[in-house]
């Protein structure tokens, strides 16, 4: 585990953790939100789980970055760390930077972080029912932020809340604003949560599995809505999901996570045309497709590694069909494999070459 030892000593030791290095960043411009070299551990009775091991990604205004990964890959933990809502302890941030408009949030004061939360970066969650407080009306929960953070009067806040519910296309917003979350259907609750997250006009919206709990017809509505709001407001959006279909429809760029690190990052078209990491390729192959009736699905053998015992070398090597001796020994760095693409694989050259 080379990354761990290095990063514990200096915050910016290797090229994979250097925010300036990734080829994906446009030259000369600071990204809206940039995460680099982020290491997070969970200290539990069973031992230390290394949940994030040098995560880096960035998002620009008006852009959608999809963070793709299976459960336990660290995609939600990264988001929670960015939001500053990680429960510490058991979690501990051991290294890394989270730069919002150039300002490192991890070293910022608690009050500054609160300020950024909501106004700079807002988040919506998978489970809207538990994310909304059941004992307050939907309107009250939107108005509360407006009154506290924007100093709005009760009346103005109510007016704005209705506008927001209108914006997310909740029918009869005037009446709905007085209702409680349980009186909303699943899709409506998700809309209400989106309205709530938009109340303070954030510049970055993190959507953590926003449609996983929803039916496919409702999912389509919500994804449309998110895309439209993002376009209108020129927001940066981080979409966290495991659904390769949703990603293909809305993302500009994709970052694939595995065992608490980014293993590949590329624009959406090239990654689907030719994955640059064996894990991405295997993930795409193992998915049943709507437009064909396959006989046997290709599977990824084995299980994701335990985060308390991440294998030596490349964390994917025990499951990788391409693994060679080098993969067992050396953790591959995230290197540029093509224009605007990075991959952490010793054999990505071959992957990119062969058909």
């Amino acid at each position: 585990m080379s990354t761990e030892g290095q990063s514990a000593e200096s915050p910016n030791p290797s090229p994979l953790e250097d925010p300036a290095a990734p080829a994906v960043v446009q030259q000369g411009s600071e990204p809206l939100l940039a995460v680099s070299g982020l290491h997070v551990e969970f200290r539990t009775q069973e031992g230390v789980a290394r949940v994030l091991n040098g995560v880096r990604y960035h998002v620009d205004a008006g852009e959608t970055l999809a963070v793709l990964g299976e459960s336990g890959s660290g995609k939600s933990v990264t988001a929670n760390t960015v939001m500053g809502i990680l429960e510490m302890p058991p979690a501990a941030i051991t290294a890394g930077e989270i730069r919002f408009r150039g300002e490192d949030l991890l070293t910022a004061s608690a009050s500054r972080r609160r300020e950024v939360r909501g106004e700079g970066i807002a988040m919506i969650f998978q489970d809207a029912l538990s994310a909304l407080n059941p004992v307050f009306t939907v309107g009250f929960q939107i108005e509360e932020q407006l009154r506290k953070r924007r100093g709005m009067s009760r009346k103005d806040a109510r007016k704005r809340a209705i506008e927001l519910l209108d914006l997310v296309r909740i029918p009869n917003a005037k009446g709905r604003v007085r209702q409680f979350p349980h009186e909303f259907s699943g899709g409506m609750r998700q809309r209400a949560m989106i309205a709530m997250s938009l109340a303070l006009d954030p510049e970055v919206l993190i959507a953590d599995e926003p449609t996983t709990a929803l039916d496919v017809t409702v999912q389509a509505q919500i994804m449309d809505l998110l895309a439209e709001i993002q376009r209108e407001r020129n927001m940066g959006m981080i979409l966290i999901t495991h659904d390769l279909g949703v990603v293909a429809e809305v993302a500009d760029r994709i970052a694939v996570m595995y065992a608490g690190r980014i293993v590949e990052e590329a624009d959406v078209h090239s990654i689907y045309r030719k994955p640059g990491h064996p894990y991405t390729r295997a993930l795409m192959d193992s998915m049943p497709r709507l437009d064909q009736r396959g006989q046997e699905l290709n599977t990824i053998k084995g299980l994701p590694p335990s985060l308390t015992a991440i294998p030596e070398g490349c964390p994917f090597h025990p499951r990788c069909p391409l693994a060679i001796d080098l993969c067992r020994e050396k953790d591959p760095e995230l290197l540029t494999i093509a224009e605007g693409r990075v991959s952490a694989c010793h054999r990505s050259d071959e992957l990119m070459r062969d058909e």
Binding site: V51, L303, P304
Partner: protein, 326 residues
């Protein structure tokens, strides 16, 4: 239909055994479910986590100590707790009698040691009684639901609604009116009976709601789909999964029952001389608090420590068994 063995050898399934590379938790809970090859049940896990809690160690040591005291009081004192020597009445603690003497000139240290037995017997048996009665009624009410549940729950509500002390006074003064003097065993059982009768609704409610939750679980559905009988579902599937909250309550309740015994004795309806119990001692001391505070101090202190030990034990057990904490 093929035989599974034949299928296995013929099939050589592509998927088989693939997941065995790591027999690990799925990573959804980082660090959770670590498998070191040992077999560990949830109880086993709870035990491992219990052993690491100082509160558990402290309370367990106290309780162990009290148990030894109850079983072999002779190890701690050779003085007869009933031996009265009026010439020593109300003497304060000294090298001869560490805790001093009471109104009748009896050795308080010896009486505190001998009083453990009554307290523990009442506490343990009353807990066993409430847990058994309450759990059984709660399980059946929760599992069957409908009118059976309605009747049992209302029945429990009636007992639950009675103020404990009032109810106990009524029960005990009926069976054990002042002036009568039954043997210690009979009195102890009357006290236990009154505690059980008035306290079982609490365990019943805990068990009932646990059973209601467990009943909804898919494993119960699967068992029903296999054709499992109600008895099998109740005792094989519901009971093991509903026991934890009742046990936690039980260990905390044990402490409070010991205190209840003292309360009833203090009020004169519980244990009475010749039974040696802390409640009786506290009751004896109540008139003389100003003159001989040590008469109250030592039994009351012993009582407080004992109750605290059981409540701490209950807390530790709850923390260890609570899946949300892990």
């Amino acid at each position: 239909m093929t035989d599974p063995t034949a299928a296995a050898s013929a099939g050589k399934m592509e998927t088989r055994a693939q997941e065995e590379i790591t027999a690990e938790g799925h990573g959804a809970r980082p660090g959770g479910g670590a498998d070191d090859g040992k077999q560990r049940s949830l109880w086993g896990d709870a035990w491992v986590s219990l052993r690491r809690r100082p509160i558990f160690i402290i309370s367990a040591v106290i309780i162990l100590f009290l148990t030894v005291m109850a079983l072999f009081p002779g190890l701690f004192t050779s003085v007869d707790p009933t031996k009265a020597d009026l010439s020593l009445a109300r003497q304060t603690p000294s090298a001869d009698a560490w805790f001093g003497y009471d109104q009748q000139g009896r050795d308080i240290y010896a009486r505190v040691i001998h009083g453990v037995r009554a307290s523990l017997v009442v506490g343990v048996l009353a807990t066993l009684g409430t847990v058994l009665l309450g759990s059984l009624v709660g399980l059946f009410a929760g599992f069957y639901g409908g009118w059976l549940d309605a009747i049992l729950s209302r029945f429990a509500d009636v007992f639950f609604g009675l103020p404990f002390v009032l109810g106990a006074i009524v029960i005990l003064s009926t069976f054990n009116p002042p002036g009568t003097s039954y043997g210690p065993v009979r009195i102890i059982f009357q006290v236990i009976f009154s505690i059980v009768v008035l306290s079982w609704p609490v365990t019943m409610r805990i068990m009932r709601s646990a059973a209601l939750t467990a009943k909804q679980q898919d494993y119960v559905k699967a068992a029903r789909a296999l054709g499992a009988s109600p008895t099998r579902i109740i005792f094989r599937h519901l009971l093991p999964n509903t026991l934890a909250p009742v046990l936690v309550y039980g260990s905390i309740a044990l402490g409070t029952y010991i205190a209840l015994e003292a309360t009833l004795s203090f009020l004169g309806v519980g244990l009475r001389t010749p039974v040696v119990s802390w409640g009786v001692m506290i009751s004896d001391a109540k008139e003389l608090i100003r003159i001989a505070p040590h008469m109250l101090l030592f039994p009351a202190g012993a009582l407080a420590v004992t109750v605290l030990a059981f409540v701490m034990l209950g807390d530790a057990v709850r923390d260890a068994l609570d899946p949300k904490m892990r």
